[in-house]
């Protein structure tokens, strides 16, 4: 015979009062970590398609250069333009932009800066090579031609 009485006072339900708090915590985590988009892209961006893509290892080393026809052609015309951060720049300004980006990095990482070129497919090579020349001058030689993965036929 059992000597102990079964205790009946404890409820077997899991308290769900803390559930909203847990969910809120998750919610806040996602709200904080979400980066909506750093810059407004003001140029057309139809990236080329390619198969042999590599991922970038370290995002902190990457700076972006956008090239393409301005989205607002009535205001900026039809000629392809270069955009860094939030403004249109000329080819000569690229060096300055690279130096700015380099200053954000620590001394040892400066040589490893990677420029991600987000170039519209309609842009002609002339502009791209001009920018590349500037990149060579400013010693930012690692370039990533940003493209979209195509499925293999």
């Amino acid at each position: 015979m059992p000597k102990f009485k079964k205790s009946t006072g404890t409820s077997e339900e899991i308290p769900t009062a803390a559930l909203p708090d847990i969910i809120f915590m998750l919610l806040f985590f996602f709200m904080v970590t979400t980066v909506m988009r750093e810059t407004d892209i003001m140029v057309k961006q139809q990236l080329p398609k390619a198969t042999q893509l590599t991922k970038i290892e370290r995002k902190s080393l990457v700076s972006y250069i956008y090239m393409g026809k301005p989205a607002n052609s009535t205001l900026y015309g039809e000629e392809p333009k270069i955009q860094t951060n939030d403004v249109f720049v000329t080819v000569e300004d690229v060096v300055q932009f690279v130096n700015q980006e380099k200053d954000k990095l620590s001394e040892v990482e400066r040589d490893q800066i990677t420029m991600s070129m987000k170039v519209d497919t309609e842009v002609k090579m002339g502009l791209v090579t001009d920018v590349q020349e500037e990149l060579r001058k400013s010693n930012a030689r690692r370039v990533l031609y940003s493209s979209i993965k195509t499925s293999r036929e």
Binding site: I23, T54, D120, T121, G126, R136, R141, S146
Partner: protein, 213 residues
């Protein structure tokens, strides 16, 4: 003073709070796009040194695989108009790199290190007098020159084709698929070793010439 004393405050039921939070959570989960930037990696040549005079490096004609693109997006490959698909260009590059026309001592070593399937490929398609000597440094160079009017799209396609030729060679050399090759993690010792083994003696020699002004 109202009579009847205090009435208990009507409680707001908090049972659905979790549901509301869930809804918000799912909204953020769905709208979040963690930007994954992918692309073709390239290392630009160092800037020309103004103090240094032009050095004429003599490279044999047969050791250069020439790709030219004009402003109408037409290709000239090895001095002949190229009308095939871009994927054919990949095979051409592959044959060029793995030609072993007259290999040097280092070239012979590279040849001996290849798996038998690739040796067969070399013996069937390569050994041509008119193509590259061996894939070692400076003996098989893919040169690509675009015009200022060439579209960026074509430039990327050609670069992609040349890169995919090299990647296939590397992948085949260590016995994995090209897809696996691209996903090698170089922080991992074993995979890094594989990477080095594959590239040993076959550098990715792609020369991007500056376009004419």
């Amino acid at each position: 003073m109202p009579k009847g004393g205090k009435r208990p405050l009507p409680e707001v039921s908090s049972g659905s709070m979790a549901d509301i939070a869930f809804l918000l959570l799912i909204f953020f989960l769905v709208t979040t796009t963690i930007a994954n930037d992918k692309g073709i990696m390239m290392l630009l040549p160092p800037p020309p040194d103004p103090l240094q005079e032009d050095i004429d490096i003599k490279i044999k004609e047969r050791n250069i695989f020439k790709i030219l693109a004009n402003s109408n997006d037409l290709l000239l490959v090895e001095d002949e108009p190229f009308r095939g698909k871009i994927s054919d260009l990949k095979d051409e590059v592959k044959k060029f790199v793995l030609n072993f026309g007259s290999p040097s001592e280092d070239g012979m070593r590279v040849y001996n290190s290849l798996p038998s399937k690739m040796k067969r490929f070399v013996n069937q398609n390569g050994k041509s007098e008119k193509s590259s000597d061996d894939p070692t440094s400076g003996n098989a160079i893919v040169s690509f020159k675009a015009n200022r009017g060439t579209s960026y799209d074509l430039y990327i396609q050609v670069l992609d084709a040349v890169n995919s030729a090299y990647n296939e060679i590397y992948a085949e050399r260590v016995g994995i698929t090209a897809e696996q090759w691209l996903q090698l993690d170089r922080d991992d010792d074993i995979q890094n070793d594989m990477y080095k083994r594959a590239r040993q003696g076959i550098p990715r020699a792609i020369s991007i010439a500056e376009p004419d002004k």
